[in-house]
């Protein structure tokens, strides 16, 4: 049994497979982290876009309010 495992071909083969496993595992970990970051970024962008829209809407409604009622409202 031991002699089989110490055979160069087999030990190299096993070593390579384990190394491949390690590399792929690391890559998957990295991609998952990046995905998490992307999700976070996407959410933030959405929120910001919404924020911009709200603010713009505020501005316009303020101008319209002034023009309609002659009263100034704080920006």
């Amino acid at each position: 049994m031991n002699s089989l495992f110490t055979h160069p071909f087999i030990s190299w083969g096993l070593g390579t497979l384990l190394l491949a496993l390690l590399i792929i595992g690391a890559q998957i970990h990295q991609i998952k982290q990046s995905l998490r970051q992307q999700t976070k970024d996407s959410r933030n962008l959405d929120r910001y876009l919404q924020h911009l829209r709200d603010k713009h809407h505020q501005h316009l409604s303020m101008v319209l309010h002034y023009l309609a009622n002659g009263q100034k409202r704080d920006l």
Binding site: M1, L18, I31, S34, L49, H56, H59, V63, L67, L75
Partner: protein, 730 residues
Amino acid sequence: MSQRVIVISILMGMNILQTVSAQAWSLDSLQALLPYAESDTARASLLIHIAAQMVWTDWSHTSTAKQHLLEAQVLLRETPYSPLRGRAYSILGKIYRRNSQQDSAYSILQKGIQEAEQVEDNQQLSELFSQLAGLMSDRSRYDSALLWYQRALIIDQTLNDSANILQDFGNLANTYGSLDSFVQARFYYQQIIDWHENNATSSLANAYSNLGILLYQQGLYDSTAYYFIRARELWEDLGDPYYVAVVGLNIGTVFTQIHDYPKAYQYFQQVIPIFDSLGHKAALANTYNNLGSLSKESNHPDSLAKSNGYHVKALAIREEIQDSSGMASSLNNLGGNFVELGQAEQAIPYLKRALQIKRRLRTSQGKAMNLYNLGLAYYSLENYEKAHSYFLQSLEQAKSVSSPNEQRLAYQGLADVAIQLGSYRDAYTYRLAYHKIQDSLFSVEKERQIQELEIHYQTEKKQATIDQLAQQQEIDHFKIQRQQSQIILLLLFMGLSGLIVFLLQQRNRLRHQQQLNEQLLHQQELRLQHTIETQETERSRIARDLHDGLGQLLSAVRMQLSAQKADTLTHAPSLEMLDQAVSEVRMLAHTMMPRSLQDQGLESALKELFSQTARTAKLTIRFEALGVKERLSQAVEIGLYRIAQELLSNVIKHAHASQVEVQLNQIRESIILTVEDDGIGIPTNLPSTGMGMRNIRTRAEAINGSFRIEKGPIQGSIATIKVPLAIPHD
């Protein structure tokens, strides 16, 4: 001629075991209990136990034991059969056998068997069968003994009682040995040996020892020595010096037989101190006797004198322990040696005394040799008639015990005497008989040698086969092991490969997801920029409309009103209101999109923004613009203006600063806007995703620029926006 002694020690392991366990209860304590036995059964049970103990302890109380057993039988007469009664029969049988009352033993054992068979008490049946077989052996009815031992074996095998099975094997082997059925005897000894698988037990040692004796009887001395040596090793392991010595004595005898005298001498010498220390005088005498016989065989000139020395020692011990048979043997050996030394006169009294003892004991053992030695002594003294008479008696004795060697010697003696007496015809006849026996002995010896060689050959052949099989087995084992490890390896490889494939799929799926997300993010960013641009465009349009449209209209109305001089007083409040309205519309338009930014450029717009902010927020704002000579693109100007606005708003809201320094520089192909404050600086846990920061970053990215915020050299923070001018932004 002298006799050698081989000590035959056929012992059964079971007897030893029974003795040991029985000693757990002492005889005295059992007897003390007797008066307290209330019921008949209890008393009978105690009586049987006492009798058993007496028989096991020693044979001197047999009559008492017998009385106890008979009383127990009377007490148990009315009760149904129980193993207790079977036991009583068995012990009684043993006592009768011991007392040579064979008929009584037979009838009691038969009765016991009959009763035990009715209730199928197999345990007692096996014991009773063995007893009966022993009885048959005592009567030399070995065939019958075999039958009973075999029945006992069958029962013990059914009961799976290994101790009794081993005992049965031993008994069967001994009985076959007595019948000269050496193959069967050897088979049963081998069974015992195989059973033990080299575990050092007394039973195994006995099996080796007995097998050795069996082979000795067959004249297979090499094999005998082998088994005796194994037995001796086992006894050594078991720590029983007596049996070590007994087997050592036997090994010495075997070596004497195969003429390996130095080894034989060594073994005999080894056993002397053991027997001496253990006080086994008979065995010690036997050893001296054997040493005497051995010494004679060496070629040393003093060999006979030395031999006599040993025989004298043996004789002295035998006289001391009153071993008549042994004494006769020693006396005969001594006489024989004196005859060979040419001291016939001295020999005769020894030999005659030996003969006298043998006659008194009515034993035929060694008698022919004794008579022959006497014949030789008288022949040396030229008393041919007496010599003739003794040789003739020796011949008759040898014939009666069917001993060819002694017959041959007697014929030789008779022939020599006949020659001396001038009876040449008789001499010829005797010589002829002598040669005939000599030839037959020679052929027997040859046959024995051939048989031994055959056994050697067969043994070697078997050993070679065994070795080959063992080797094959080892190879097979190795192959199986290799196959197993190959399967394990294959599974390992497959498992790892499967895992890798699965993980690769997983990785590709995640990568695809990542790419999709990237696209989504890009689209989101585009949408954001587009929204910002649209918003700015809309703001600037509304601001322009307010300023140029409503603002201009209100200005025109004011001018018209003020032109009407007459009603100046009347129109004064209206003019004031109109001024306020124009100012508010301008303010409104400015808030939406500073006019200065559109008309005069970023530098003026920023100056205006900072002066206004400094006024309202009570801040000292220093603004410096260096190297900005021409107008920038509208997108860059609006972007940088909004960023400055946001940064300033952040400083007012969060930094608690008193001074702000703003620089707008054009260095080569880049515009750099720096806003530095002396506030509390940026907190370390500032969320990079806050709306303000996000706003600034997105606006910077929208105009292809970069944004950085860091701590100031002493306090506060420095925000830097760098926008390259080489790439068109519109």
